[in-house]
C-alpha cells in the first residue's frame, strides 16, 4: 500500500497507525434442514476499512447484529476473515502463520462481550488472570502477584482470587475479563461491551482506569459499545456501523453534534437520558420498517429501506464512505449538513416522520 492510499483510509490522521483495515469481509454460512445444507450466508462484516492511530480510542456503535463483535474477532483472527487486509504496525495479520499469530496476540488482546462464556469455569480467578502471563513465559509465583495487583486495579479485592467464575456477579465477571486481557501488556485492546454489566459508579471507575492504563502503557483501544454516552466519553473518534458496514466515522464531538448520516441522526435521537421528566417528554425518531436481514442486505444504500430521506437512486447506487467534511466520513448520497436536522430535511422534502414520546405516544410531523 502506498502512503497516499493509507492516508485515504477513513480515520487516518497522518500519524503512523497501529491498525489499518482495508475491505475486511466476514460471511458466515447459513445452514438449514436436517442435512444442515448451506442455504445462504450472513454478511456480518462487509467491506470495512478504517485506520486506528497509536494511543487512540475508536468507538464502534451500531444496532444489535450489525457486526461489531464479528469485526473485533476477525481483526484478531479469532474467526478467519473471508477476505480483506489487516495490518498491525504495518505487519500483515491475515497472512501471519499460526505461530506468529500466537506472538501477535500478546500485543492484540480482546475483552469479550459475554464474560461468563469466556471464563474457564473450573479455574480460580487468579489463575484465569495469570494464565496468559504463564503462556508467555512468566513464572507462576510472579504471575500470581501480578494477578492480585490487576484484581485490585479493576476494583476487586485480592481475596476474590481463590474463587471461581460462577461465584461472581455479572459486573464482577466483566472486570475479571478486563484484568485478564491487560495481564500481558498488550498494545491494542479490542473491548467488546466492556462496561455494559456494570453499575454506573463501577463503570465510571473502569472507564477512568482504562484511560489511565491507556496513558501509562500507550494502549490503543477499539471500544465496542451500544451505550452512546459511554462511547462519547471514552472515544477520540467514533464509527457507526449498519448491516456490516461503517456508515459514518468522525471525531467524537463532531459525530454527536453534527452527524451527517440519517441513520446516525435517528440513533442519537433514541438515546435514553437519566432524567425521568426529560426522558418521558423526549422525542425519538421512529424508523419505518424492520431491520433488514444481514443474509439478504438491501441493494444500493443498505439503509434505504428505512431511510426517511431516500431518493430513487438510493435503491440502486451504493454510496461510498466519503470524506464529507475534513476528517468526517459518511456514506450517504444526501448527507446532512452541519446545522441541519433530519426532521427538518424530511419536512423540506414534503414527507412525514414519526416521532415517539412516552407521554404523548407516536405523532407525525
Amino acid at each position: 500500500m502506498t502512503a497516499t492510499e493509507r492516508d485515504t483510509l477513513p480515520g487516518a490522521t497522518g500519524a503512523p497507525p497501529v491498525l489499518e483495515v482495508t475491505d475486511l469481509v466476514k460471511y458466515y454460512p447459513i445452514r438449514a434442514g436436517i442435512m444442515r445444507k448451506q442455504v445462504g450466508s450472513v454478511h456480518a462484516v462487509d467491506g470495512v476499512s478504517f485506520a486506528l492511530g497509536a494511543t487512540e480510542t475508536l468507538g464502534i456503535v451500531g444496532e444489535s447484529g450489525c457486526g461489531k463483535t464479528t469485526l473485533g474477532r476477525t481483526l484478531l483472527r479469532l474467526v478467519e476473515p473471508t477476505s480483506g487486509q489487516v495490518l498491525f504496525n504495518g505487519e500483515d495479520v491475515v497472512g501471519a502463520s499460526s505461530s506468529r499469530m500466537r506472538e501477535l496476540r500478546q500485543d492484540m488482546q480482546m475483552v469479550f462481550q459475554d464474560p461468563f462464556a469466556s471464563l474457564n469455569p473450573r479455574m480460580p480467578v487468579q489463575d484465569i488472570i495469570s494464565e496468559p502471563l504463564q503462556i508467555h513465559g512468566t513464572d507462576k509465583k510472579e504471575a500470581r502477584i501480578k494477578a492480585r495487583a490487576l484484581l485490585d486495579a479493576v476494583g476487586l479485592s485480592p481475596e476474590h482470587g481463590n474463587r471461581y467464575p460462577h461465584e461472581f456477579s455479572g459486573g464482577q465477571r466483566q472486570r475479571i475479563g478486563i484484568a485478564r486481557s491487560l495481564a500481558v501488556n498488550p498494545e491494542l485492546v479490542v473491548l467488546d461491551e466492556p462496561v455494559s454489566a456494570l453499575d454506573v459508579s463501577v463503570q465510571a471507575q473502569v472507564l477512568n482506569l482504562l484511560e489511565d492504563l491507556q496513558e501509562e502503557f500507550q494502549l490503543s483501544y477499539l471500544f465496542i459499545a451500544h451505550d452512546l454516552s459511554v462511547v462519547r466519553h471514552i472515544s477520540d473518534r467514533v464509527a457507526v456501523m449498519y448491516l456490516g458496514q461503517i456508515v459514518e466515522l468522525a471525531d467524537r464531538d463532531e459525530l454527536y453534534e453534527a452527524p451527517a448520516h440519517p441513520y446516525t441522526h435517528s440513533l442519537l435521537s433514541a438515546v435514553p437520558v437519566a432524567d425521568p421528566e426529560m426522558e418521558r417528554s423526549r422525542e425519538r425518531i421512529i424508523l419505518e420498517g424492520d431491520l433488514p436481514s444481514p443474509a439478504n442486505p438491501p441493494t444500493g444504500c443498505r439503509f434505504h429501506t428505512r431511510c426517511p430521506i431516500a431518493q430513487d437512486n438510493c435503491v440502486t447506487d451504493v454510496p461510498p464512505l466519503a470524506e464529507v467534511r475534513p476528517g468526517h466520513w459518511a456514506s450517504c448520497h444526501y448527507a446532512l449538513g452541519p446545522d441541519e436536522t433530519l426532521v427538518q430535511r424530511v419536512k423540506d422534502l414534503g414527507r412525514e416522520v414519526h416521532i415517539a414520546n412516552s407521554d404523548t405516544g407516536v405523532t407525525t410531523a
Binding site: A197, H233, V273
Partner: protein, 339 residues
C-alpha cells in the same frame, strides 16, 4: 397502594458457603410488587440484585442458605415442593436472565427451545402450533426473517439477538410476574426501545407486573414507576422514580446518580465515581456498610447500623441513612440539555 401485592418479600436473607467463608449476598430485604406495576432495582454490582431475583424463582444453588418469606399470589414460595415450584416457573413467573447463554441450551435450535417452553406448560398445544407460535414470538421481539432464524442455534445469533430470543421465551406463556435481569444490556438503543415496547405491551395485555433489574438509569427513568436502590445486600433507598432522581435522600443513591456519563455534554473531564471499593460480602463493615465511602459519615455511622426509615407518612419514600433529612438537596437534572 390499595391493591393486594402480587409479590411480597419479607426479611429475605441469602448467604453462600464458600472456601473463604460465608458470603452475605442478601441481608434482610423486604418489598412488595403490585399487579401491573414496574419496579426497578438498581445499585452496586454485586449488591444482591440477581440473587434476590433467583431466590424468588427458587433457582439458587444448594450452597445458598435462605431465610425470610416470599409470598406470590397468596402462596409461600419457599415452602412449595420442587414440583409445585416448577409449575410456577415460566408459567406464572418468568425470568429474563442477565446472561442469555445460561438460559439457552447450545445444542438445540432456538425454535425447539421456544416450542418446548410453550409445550411444557401446555402439553395440549400441538407441535405444529407451538412451532408457529415460536416464529410469531421471534417476530414480536424483532428478529428479522424469523422463519429462517428459528432454525438457528444460539451461537449463530448475535449477543442482542440471544437476549431477544430469551425475552420471547419469557413472554411465551404470558406470566403474571416478569423478572427481567438486565434485559437490554446487549441491545443498542433502537432495538432497546423496541424490546421495552414489547415487554410493556405484553405487560399491558396481561396486567403483568415487572421487576426490572438494570444499571441503565436512562431506561429506568423512562419506564419504572418505583425504584429500589441496593448496596451491599441491603435496600438503601426506595421511592417513586421522580423522588429517587430528583429528591434522593441517600448518599449512595446520590453518588450513583453523579457517576452517570452524560450523553449531551462535551466530556473531557473525568467521570466522578464514588471513591473506594464496594464492601466485601464476607466482611461487611460494622455500622453503615456505605460508611467507608461516604462523604457525610460521622461517628454514629460506625457504631450503629442505620435502619431503612420512612421519610413520609405513607412510607412511599424510605432511606437507610442516619442523616437522611439533613443531607444537602440533590437533583439529577440533566442540566446541559437546558443550556
Amino acid at each position: 397502594m390499595t391493591t393486594e401485592p402480587l409479590l411480597s418479600v419479607r426479611d429475605l436473607t441469602v448467604s453462600f458457603d464458600t472456601d473463604d467463608g460465608l458470603v452475605q449476598a442478601v441481608n434482610g430485604v423486604s418489598f412488595d410488587v403490585h399487579p401491573g406495576e414496574t419496579l426497578a432495582v438498581v445499585g452496586e454490582s454485586g449488591s444482591g440484585k440477581s440473587v434476590t431475583a433467583m431466590a424468588t424463582m427458587r433457582l439458587l444453588p444448594r450452597s445458598a442458605r435462605i431465610s425470610g418469606s416470599i409470598t406470590f399470589d397468596g402462596r409461600d414460595l419457599l415452602s412449595l415442593s420442587d414440583r409445585e415450584m416448577r409449575r410456577i416457573q415460566g408459567e406464572d413467573i418468568a425470568m429474563i436472565f442477565q446472561d442469555p447463554m445460561t438460559a439457552l441450551n447450545p445444542v438445540f435450535t432456538v425454535g425447539n427451545q421456544l416450542a418446548e417452553a410453550i409445550r411444557i406448560h401446555h402439553p395440549d398445544v400441538s407441535k405444529k402450533a407451538a412451532s408457529e407460535r415460536s416464529i410469531e414470538l421471534l417476530e414480536i421481539v424483532g428478529i428479522p426473517e424469523p422463519r429462517i432464524r428459528v432454525e438457528n442455534y444460539p451461537h449463530e445469533f448475535s449477543g442482542g439477538m440471544r437476549q431477544r430470543a430469551m425475552i420471547a421465551m419469557a413472554i411465551a406463556n404470558q406470566p403474571k410476574l416478569l423478572i427481567a435481569d438486565e434485559p437490554t444490556t446487549a441491545l443498542d438503543v433502537t432495538i432497546q426501545a423496541q424490546v421495552i415496547e414489547v415487554m410493556r405491551k405484553a405487560q399491558e395485555a396481561t396486567g403483568a407486573a415487572m421487576i426490572l433489574i438494570t444499571h441503565d438509569l436512562g431506561l429506568v427513568a423512562g419506564v419504572a414507576e418505583r425504584v429500589q436502590v441496593m448496596y451491599g445486600g441491603r435496600l438503601f433507598e426506595t421511592g417513586d422514580t421522580g423522588t429517587i432522581y430528583y429528591r434522593s435522600r441517600n448518599p449512595y443513591t446520590q453518588g450513583l446518580m453523579r457517576s452517570i456519563p452524560t450523553f449531551a455534554k462535551r466530556t473531557d473531564e473525568r467521570l466522578s465515581p464514588i471513591p473506594g471499593s464496594p464492601p466485601s460480602a464476607i466482611n461487611l463493615p460494622a455500622g453503615c456498610s456505605f460508611r467507608p465511602r461516604c462523604e457525610f459519615a460521622e461517628a454514629i455511622c460506625r457504631d450503629e447500623e442505620p435502619a431503612l426509615r420512612p421519610l413520609d407518612p405513607a412510607g412511599a419514600h424510605q432511606s437507610r441513612c442516619h442523616f437522611a433529612e439533613e443531607l444537602p438537596d440533590f437533583s439529577q437534572r440533566t442540566a446541559e440539555v437546558a443550556g
